[in-house]
């Protein structure tokens, strides 16, 4: 669906390139994530892909067509969820949607009530944005991005500023979009979101992709293939996953008391990120 080869981009007057020879591809129906700290080039990559930034080096092919060959019809096919809320404050949520919807082909516009319901804004649709919290505005950002039923979606920190319940609603809906065959490109520095949502992630640092892989594979590869068992009485022991069911020591241990918890010892995505890039996501 999206193929990027050797993508480099420099902002005018910048001393060096912000993106350096990026190579990645995103399949149809895939949720692909860009993970990296602030200033790594995540949003810049998206801006190039949704044609806000031009004059890049390299090749970008979207739906079998070079990005530069796409005209305004490209924007009928893509949806963009911005990192920060951006709505007309003096208009209601419904008026905001109506205005922007009027630029798209009518037959593609989804039912507004259904959209408001997805993000729990059905009772606030006729309120002015001035009365909205940041979280409510972010939810409106989300439905504005999907209201014209695009095939490709770009989300920049889609759960930023959301409480856990609403973040979950958005994540659930993104997963639903994937099931419908939509292609989703997410940038985030929130490992939990990436872990939960993405089929594949790329670690991007200083404008370079360091690694691209499935999050589960990464966690397995970089973690210990072991389980840690903790008993109520305070004893803790670690056992290799291999042949765990026939491991006598393990069986004796779990029988020796009430089990408090059992955890696999795979690495977290954050640990993998630090290990691979030598940087933390908060840098």
């Amino acid at each position: 669906m999206i193929t990027v080869n050797n993508l480099s981009y420099s902002y005018p007057k910048a001393s060096g390139p912000t993106l350096k020879n990026l190579d990645f591809d995103i399949d149809q129906g895939e949720i692909f994530g860009f993970l990296g700290p602030s200033g790594a080039g995540k949003s810049t990559t998206q801006k190039v892909l949704y044609k806000i930034l031009h004059r890049f080096d390299g090749t970008i092919v979207v739906k079998d067509r070079h990005l530069n060959d796409w005209g305004n019809d490209y924007f009928e096919r893509i949806g963009v969820g911005f990192e920060l809320p951006n709505h007309y404050l003096k208009l209601t949520a419904r008026e905001n949607l109506q205005l922007f919807a009027s630029f798209y082909q009518k037959e593609n516009i989804r039912d507004f009530e259904e959209l408001f319901e997805i993000v729990g804004l059905e009772d606030d649709a006729d309120k002015c944005i001035e009365e909205f919290s940041k979280g409510m505005s972010m939810r409106l950002n989300y439905i504005r991005a999907i209201m014209h039923d695009p095939d490709i979606l770009f989300f920049d920190e889609p759960t930023a500023g959301l409480d856990p319940i609403n973040a979950q609603k958005i994540k659930r809906d993104i997963a639903k979009l994937k099931d419908q065959g939509k292609t989703v490109f997410v940038t985030t520095h929130d490992m939990a979101t990436a872990d939960e949502l993405c089929d594949r992630v790329s670690f991007i640092v200083d404008g370079e992709i360091r690694l691209t892989e499935n999050p589960d594979v990464l966690k397995r590869e970089h973690g210990k293939r072991a389980v840690r068992v903790e008993l109520e009485k305070g004893l803790t022991k670690e056992f290799p996953v291999r042949e765990l069911g026939t491991n006598k020591e393990f069986i004796d241990f779990v029988r020796s008391g009430e089990i408090s918890r059992i955890n696999t010892q795979e690495a977290t995505l954050e640990e993998v990120f630090i290990k691979v890039t030598g940087k933390t996501l908060k840098e």
Binding site: Y50, I52, N72
Partner: protein, 236 residues
Amino acid sequence: MEKLINVAINDFKLVFRDKSLRIFFVFPVLSVLVVLYGFPYIANLFPIIRPYISILMMSATMQNSLMFGFIYSMVLIDEKDTNVAKVYGVLPVSNFWFVIFRLIAPFLFATFFTIAMLSVEPFYGISFVSNFYYSALAGLVAPLMVLFVATVSRNKLDGMTWQKLFNLPTSLPLLAFFVPASYSFLFAIFPTHWAYQGFKRLISGESFALYLLFGFVYTVFLISLIAKRFSKSHFQ
């Protein structure tokens, strides 16, 4: 066409729901009343002013355009402030049409109120066709100001400063009527010069079409120049 109407209605709502902006819609109405009642009253009270009524009239028509220019430039600056401009960058509409959508309302409002102003003026008996030509040219100053102020301003405060600065070159060509005729060409760089000179000839019964035509072409040229810069910066 539907998009154009939607954007125009939206802009109108934004202005009307903003307490600090909607008050400015009163001024063009007041200007019409000033031309209708105020100018004749002053001319009767101070006959010495009579020869300068035409200059006051030109100034009033331009102030009318500047008012709409100010109102709508604030809408665009607010759009930049709140990052809404970025959304327009990912909509299936070209930059050219976006600019047209946003400029048509201030142009039409400014033209309409100038027509109204010159229709009620009791001094020169300007025909509707001549009135229309002049008003359309004076009306173009509104979109010129909208684009200029919205392009160079980073925020509303900036916008206020720039709109005040924009007023100066708009009024400056009026000085051409107070300097020897051979020096008046010095003001030709300002687009309003052509409107003022056209107006002067219009009320004197002289040929004015060339002045208005040149003014029109020149102002549209300036608008298109600034529009290019505006398009580069507004959506990012």
